[in-house]
Symmetry: C2
Subunit: 347 residues, 2 copies
Amino acid sequence: MRRAEAVAGGGPVRAPRTGRPTLEEVAERAGVSRATVSRVVNGQTTVAEDLRRAVEAAAAELGYVPHAAARSLVTHRTDSVALILPESPNRVFSDDQFFPSVIRGVAAELDAAGKLLVLLTTGSAEARSRAERYAVGGHVDGVMFASLHDADLLPELMLRRGVPVVCNGLPHLAAPCIDVDHIGGVKAAVEFLLAKGRRRIATVAGPQDMVAGRERLDGYRQALAAADRRAIVAVGDFTAESGHAAMRQLLADEPDLDAVFVASDLMAHGALQALREAGRSVPGDVSVIGFDDIALATYCDPPLTTVRQPIAEIGRSMARTMLRLLEGREVEPLTILPTELVVRTSA
Amino acid sequence: MRRAEAVAGGGPVRAPRTGRPTLEEVAERAGVSRATVSRVVNGQTTVAEDLRRAVEAAAAELGYVPHAAARSLVTHRTDSVALILPESPNRVFSDDQFFPSVIRGVAAELDAAGKLLVLLTTGSAEARSRAERYAVGGHVDGVMFASLHDADLLPELMLRRGVPVVCNGLPHLAAPCIDVDHIGGVKAAVEFLLAKGRRRIATVAGPQDMVAGRERLDGYRQALAAADRRAIVAVGDFTAESGHAAMRQLLADEPDLDAVFVASDLMAHGALQALREAGRSVPGDVSVIGFDDIALATYCDPPLTTVRQPIAEIGRSMARTMLRLLEGREVEPLTILPTELVVRTSA
DNA sequence: CTGTTAGCGCGTTCAG
DNA sequence: CTGAACGCGCTAACAG
């Protein structure tokens, strides 16, 4: 990996055509020192106009692009941040639109700030340790976590290593968090069902190792308790299949239920199918309300009444918080985004 | 940015607690040289067992993680590769499952190889030049392009800069390409419609600045020409809205059409809606066939007959090709994956 | 098998 | 305002 030696025979010693031009080569071509080129490239204003132009010309002709590694070795910055998606790639990029929407929000905000987004999925133990090494190894300036599980130690680990962290889905951490008002949204949904005269209201809850799963169940319980009604609960894992299975379970346990709040739209889609198979009409026999308001909700048959959470805004907000963190500015320790009931046909 | 100076007063000079341990600190703690630590960290077998253990212990205690920039500055490797998605983040992470599925395939394969995936969207000119600087700047070892547009100069640019490239959607490049058999799949679809006795078969074509758009239209034309029938064409851009508009156009131009091949499932979904609004039954009055076989196809009403392309396999194949390229091995210049007609209800 | 040495390409003092 | 010199943390020759 060493540069070519001078050619034997005493001809003029020319630097070999290396793959990429370096600062030094630009400097030589422009007839200035490396330091001056560096200043120009980094937009310092303390360079004489003619030199600056010479440097810019030389850089353009050579197609100079600073070497990322060399630069970040000395600056300790990379101008890129990671978004960690604590699921397998299969899950992240499935038909659940949650992660894609978060990504979209993050990407938009980072793009505007000229930062780069690195996506990491940590669905396996191996992937998790790779992500750790990646972040701690200084590949990125900070790390954002989407939809964390309770048991995930990665955020704390990174914090301890001095990596700036922003998260979603675990509010009690020593890092700024972005989340939505799960409980308020679910209460509105259940109250809507009660106001419609529904009396036996069940729920398909989400996974209980996640805040989103627990709080949506809490909201349901609180609303029912306030109306002095009994809770009827089945638990799924946010997938359509689990929603289908949970709905069957509910129908078996409680055949006379007349409404169900399902903790995600994807599960609601599965639940609708189970109701159809059981010969129940929606919303005639059973009212159904979902949670998320992803595109699928409008495709459902009938179109799904659901609690909208601003998913892309979670991403945007995380990104903005991270950018502020990287600038050393103050940030809100906890940001709660609003949810709202979107009434369609299923309830 | 300089290390703390020795403390005045002559006490023992201790290295200040820097943010992250370096090779040197591990070496000192283990009582060996930096080189030996480097060897152990990089898994070389030429280190005596006792030293290796001492190094491993020291590294573990200090929580040593190699500094990415320093390493890749000398190795010229980063162990990560980029996947470029030549659309805006909004488009990439929309309800079109194409990109997510490609990502999934790429991620799976790269994961298995211990490489990291960096996702870049190049929907704007600015994003494009940022991606260029990123790749040329040596952040990644190679670049993969998904679903290229004809006019995209980025691949050639990167090639010229010596960056390894693999692409999808532009087969005539000086880089290995992965694509699917568009024409064969579409021919099968149209022939299926003809065999069913359909006589006035229209098409909603995709964007004509992409191979996928052009070849699917070609396949349609070839199959109709072989049957001595007239082509009836409207053009969309692969979105549901454009499919809806194109279908309305077709119905206005050719009210007695009895079948339509739509060049993407998302457009087909829009087309179905337009047909419904126009009071045409599917498949009674009009047969509809889509292209892709994403999850949406099964949600359609009626479930969509469609040409399946192995989207995730495109991603896997791109990743495998890239890995081989990075190892300096031979690769196929062109890989064509098969398509197949999946018959459901809409035709 | 191990340690010593020389850069990788760049930003950044510090003199001039 | 400019250039010379140093070091970021690491790998890879080269000696021993």
